[in-house]
Amino acid sequence: MELRKSYFADQRKDGLHEIGQGRPRLDSPGHVTGKTAYFADRNFPGMLHLKMVRSPHHHARIRSIDISEAEKHPGVMKILTARDVPHNVYTILILIQIGPEDETVLADGKVRWKGEAVVAVLAETERAAQEAAAKVKVDYEVLPAVFDMEEALKPGAPLVNEYHGQNHYLYDSGECRKVRFGDVEAGFAEADHILEQTYQSSPIEHAPTETTGCVVAPEGNDRFTCYTNTQAMFFTLDNASIILQMPGSKLHFVGGTVGGGFGGKVDVIVEPIAILGAKFTGRPVCFIYSREEEMQISSPRAAEKVVIKDGVMKDGRIVARKVTGYTDAGAYSRHSPYGAQKGAAHYPGPYTIPNVWIDTYCVYTNRTPSSAMRGFGVTIGDFALEVQMDKLARLIGMDPLEFRFINAYRDGDMKAHRQPTEGAALIECMQEASRAANWPVAEKYMAMSSYRKGG
């Protein structure tokens, strides 16, 4: 790889020992010899297998749960329901004061999405656990469900999640995250052209090759070791501690080896219930998603809808941008309130726009809860913004790359959320992109720099 050291030469130290040097991966020798120990490579004598009974309905009241037949199934050691979970209603980000707790470990009185965990069955073999799970009888009263964000926000829509009281997350700024900068209506009044477009995306499944799961081993004295493929070790440890009402000193988590995650393994779903199973039975427990579960149950990237209205001048300057973003959290918050918030900060794009108005909503629907995935909250936004940039350039008959040079933020520019731009280097990236893609731009853009002393 070639490093272009001509850029920012006066601002950079070159006597570094690590940066710019190739280094072998520390875990690679284990990978190529097949010795790397993933959680499922831990096998303990007497290990039980956990299978979930899951909701076949998108939204339903649970009238009754009958586990009597399942309990009699050969090999079954324990069946867990909501009443067995010490702190059954939780939310992952409560650790950083983002509430309310809105999700059940095992469904209690109601299910809010198709696939929600209702009853956990622990048995000697995977097959026995599966067969017993099929014998659990749950009596449901099916309720009206809502799958569309705009429908969910309408008055009178079915209420998805009672812990919120309405079908959107309530931020301290109100029903949405807001950014206000300059006077957006004055900007539109001044603009030569206005373009409003709507962009939408579907949920996206991460599909890691290694499915989500954990293996729990009781260590005596009410202590447990949990081998897990979590991508968020301390969220998982601390949330397990809250859910199980056990001090962290009783829980030993072993992780760090993840067979593909892409953000899909940051939720705290499998560990607490597997530890609870080990606590009740005194036996090691394995809870691993089947491929089918991984594809249907694990949280996807949120579906999003982005409405962008831009005001642009004939000379290429964007003078006003108004964005309304909607993030489909599904039935529970998980990481979505944070994703929607990131969108609010991101929608101005890497561009300097004097008048900005942004609202982003985190909406609850009866769909699979969505959560983290590679730049969640901003990736779909970037797609929408850059398609919008191309459309704006076409609208005023300007080269799309040159159009971006005109609007690119440079050091010293004030961003819409009132952080001055520092170390942007966007101009330089676009200059290199122009060369690499053989997409020439006018010489005046190749002479620009992100770095300008005193503006």
Partner: protein
Amino acid sequence: MVKVPVQFTLNGSEKAELIDSGATLLHALRDKIGDTSPKGGCHQGTCGACSVIIDGELRLSCLTLAETCNGAVIRTTAGLAEGGVLHPLQRAFLDAFATQCGFCTPGMIMAAKVLLDRTPNPSREEVVEALSGNICRCTGYEPIIQAVLTAARANSQNVA
């Protein structure tokens, strides 16, 4: 559950196990014998992470019944390094940054080995074709293809 005796040679060692009739070779290798180098990604024959070599053929151990392997010679990635020296494929994967999470790596290496055993100097297209049954979700295909081509070159140089 009916148990059946199964004997085979795994990476040069004789193995004899009583296996549940109907159990997969993947289960026998991982849970009975303790060779966890074949990985269970999909258990339905689509991801290739469980690939092993049976009598010289690339096979999916999640779709192979253990009891059909009586008398077979089986090789897995765990047995590829000889005397602590990495196989050229392992060395090439290591050097070419061809592993990310590593979960697909043992299956990839088995698929690549069968290719190189038969076609010591494959074209890029032949490498792509040989690895087409193995899914890498960290999008590492290019470094993997390069690693296999590098290992092939190293092999041919050794022969010459």
